[in-house]
Symmetry: C2
Subunit: 493 residues, 2 copies
């Protein structure tokens, strides 16, 4: 109701949309965090601080930014510093040269709107990076298929908006998925068509399943799938796809005329020795005709993840492969309505795609910082999965990549019945894993996201935690999870 | 068609959306700009460079950024500089102090995602600024009604998305309007309900018209207006509303249960001596009960305009007044799906709302830069309207505020008929003002936007130009417009 007593109208699609990564549990966490700052709140919980493991936000958990990138950013933000020899002398030569190079391209105008798709020079850098990354395929001739975005999320939103007009349009998404996808599908009124990943096979993608999900979507839901979303490395699963599977996925998309949306924001986050990142672009262009020319692909990347971890910059890009020109035109028109992505994010994207090279003044320090972050992430990824598997009722696949463990939880029957009873008393419909996550939070200060926020097979429960807490906090987290979960098994059996 | 010959499906709402500010004319301008860099292109046009007057992008037209803001931004981007005495000594004390203050609030984490609505400290600064700006009304107690955004555009998009679910939801917009509004209405499938501004009265808003447009929307289009958009100072019109009119507008919204969306991004851009900016918040809260508590208001602001002109930062905010809690919750959920706005934009917004104060080291230099930009804008605003009124067939209202002149054009009958003939030959449906703008571009290099991109009364034609070209370029622009337009009157009469 409005203040005047009139009923307030809200877009029903908005009412429907959910985003668990910042949903019930993190919101309760923020309440507790505020309580902890008050005199009454201090003694109320058996902990004095929270460990936020709900969101992949590395620098919030003390990961240091890469120095070279910040040096360039500072000089580009304040070009007059380049005229001050006392300041310039405190920066490495290559940072100064890089700042001058960027400013030269943009005529000192970091305060101006850029082209709708981003600065041409920054898109060129991205295109060169893609050409170096992808092996044995036709290089991009120019940057016309690259669009710079405010993080990958705005790219996902824009592309889905162009492709999905309503309930007759399906979007195939993995389960579990990153909840941005279901949220955007709700907002667009599209039809989600969910395909399950195979948990027992390190969350592998089952191509046979794609065909049956496609057919079901058409027959049972009267919706034609327009997009297939693949997240590789997987969020929340941590799985990394094999090339053979990727080829089958691409062929499926080509045969069905579905756009393949490859969320590749974790492309630098691969920890398993036997895995390496292969982009869908490399896979598609490496297929025989007609697949190499007819598979429609959009690939997304971001400055928020990887080793750079610059979430706050909201930098990122998507690249378009084999899209028909009408579709590209509409994508570009949508970019123009949004004016442009933010300049600092654009610059950070360019930097991510062109780190210092051998011989540059910052080469060694850059790679030393980079490798130290990478090896620590790798250590935590391996350690976390291993430790979780020693806790009663937990089962966790190896964290091959990305920034998360997605562990299965089993809970005593009695705990499940208690949840039903509590829900009846409280008049709400908390899933058992959400109740579990809430009680974990309130008794330990650990903030994770229940599996129901990502989707999971019926009658299974999971939780997602990031691998990002520094090693000491990680120990507290594992210990808290252990005593909480084992306490439940003691109490409710 | 897709490469495989399958028909490609595109969201029909996307196909429908138009955005003239970066539409046909600016796209043709970019083509010409590229041609001019080639040997063949050089002699092809009677000019060697373009003057972009299509978009309010001050720094692209050589407006200097405000130094203090950039100093703080550089230090916050590279916090390690604060530990280097040689660097610190080159910055004014207050820039160093400000950077330390901001970094203290955010724990050095400018690379992290922020709270969904933006950093609490930055929102507090915005709230204090609003409390200083708005006179004789109840102050904001905290920043819970402030949301930081990537420019005002993302705020408009988010708010309209929450309020407009489909064709049964109307959005009342002024004609002429900023085409972001019609684009977003198309994308949401809402029903536009257009009210005309009174050109001959300096583009005044006619409140009687609001009621009849509301009723028509309900009766003729089966849609209930949910939002009334008011742009003040006006884009593209340059008009500034009087307080009495604003009070009537607020009462209308309250009586009808419509959310008042106040686009106040030009609040610092008022040039007419007899006008000053009054915010809709001040007006609403200053009304007697029940209007002061029951008028639902959202107000938008941006770092892109004003004197700061930091378009590329994509900074901005909206504030919510008297919104019911369900609506606020849904707004906040939508923010969380978008993660957060970019940190540099958030910091720029905080800076815009808290410039150096009397006694600060940068106080005098800041205000000297500020006043010099302001007085040059004012000079150009007055000069441009005056000059345009000396050209045959042009009529331009005073540019009281904002960054644009929106002039009416009259063209000879013969020119109009020629457009019909050319359209028939070319198989397209260019409006006469679009044809005129295209020919202006191709013969003079001046890039403006035809009135049809903003909406105008039937049988009238206009064009919008920014007042932003530096004074010398402005002379070229006026001269080009004059000889082009007078040439048409000579040739086609």
């Amino acid at each position: 109701m409005t203040p005047t007593g009139k009923s307030i109208h809200i877009n029903p699609r908005v009412l429907e949309a959910q985003y668990a990564v910042r949903g019930l549990i993190p919101m309760r966490a923020d309440e507790i965090k505020n309580e902890l700052t008050t005199p009454e709140g201090k003694g109320k919980y058996p902990f004095s601080s929270l460990v936020y493991c709900n969101i992949g936000n590395p620098q919030a958990l003390d990961q240091k930014p890469l120095t070279f990138f910040r040096q360039v950013m500072a000089l580009v933000d304040a070009p007059f510093l380049l005229e001050n020899e006392k300041v310039v002398s405190q920066f490495p030569e290559d940072a100064v040269a890089r700042a001058k190079e960027y400013l030269g391209h943009i005529g000192n105008r970091t305060g101006a709107y850029t082209d709708s798709a981003g600065y041409a020079f920054a898109r060129d850098i991205v295109a060169r990076h893609i050409n170096e990354r992808d092996r044995n395929v036709k290089p991009l001739e120019d940057a016309s298929s690259i669009v710079l975005t405010d993080g990958a999320s705005t790219g996902v939103r824009l592309l889905l908006q162009v492709l999905v007009g309503g309930a007759s349009d399906g979007v195939m998404i993995p389960i579990p998925q990153y909840p941005l996808y279901t949220a955007q599908i709700s907002l667009l009124g599209g039809t989600p068509a969910m395909y399950y990943l195979e948990e027992s096979e390190r969350w592998a993608l089952n191509v046979a399943e794609l065909n049956s999900v496609y057919d079901d979507c058409v027959k049972k839901h009267n919706a034609t799938p327009r997009v297939l979303v693949v997240i590789n490395p997987g969020n929340p699963t941590g799985g990394v796809l094999e090339r053979g599977v990727m080829e089958e996925v691409a062929k499926f998309c080509c045969d069905r005329g579905v756009v393949l949306m490859a969320d590749e924001v974790y492309q630098e986050n691969i920890y398993a020795e036997e895995r390496r990142f292969v982009s869908f672009r490399e896979v598609v262009l490496g297929l025989p005709a007609p697949y190499n020319t007819d598979t429609m692909l959009v690939s997304l990347h971001s400055t928020s993840k990887g080793i750079i971890g610059e979430c706050g910059r909201r930098g990122g890009y998507f690249s378009m492969t084999n899209l028909p020109s009408l579709l590209r035109e509409q994508v570009m028109k949508m970019c123009s309505i949004n004016l442009c992505s933010n300049v600092n994010g654009q610059l950070m994207t360019a930097l991510m795609c062109s780190p210092p090279r051998s011989g540059d003044a910052s080469y060694e320090s850059y790679w030393s910082e980079y490798n130290s972050i990478f090896s620590s992430l790798k250590k935590r990824a391996l350690m976390l999965a291993k430790e979780l598997n020693t806790i009663r009722g937990f089962e966790c696949q190896p964290v091959e990549g990305a920034m998360y463990a997605f562990a299965q939880i089993r809970l005593p029957e009695k705990y499940m019945r208690r949840n039903d009873e509590l829900n009846a008393q409280e008049g709400r419909k908390l899933s058992a894993d959400a109740r579990w996550a809430l009680e974990l939070l309130e008794s330990t200060g650990i903030v994770i996201v229940p599996g129901s926020g990502f989707g999971q097979r019926p009658n299974t429960m999971h939780f997602r935690t990031t691998i990002l807490p520094p090693e000491q906090q990680m120990e507290r987290m594992v210990q808290s999870l252990r005593s909480f979960q084992e306490g439940i098994w003691e109490k409710y059996v």
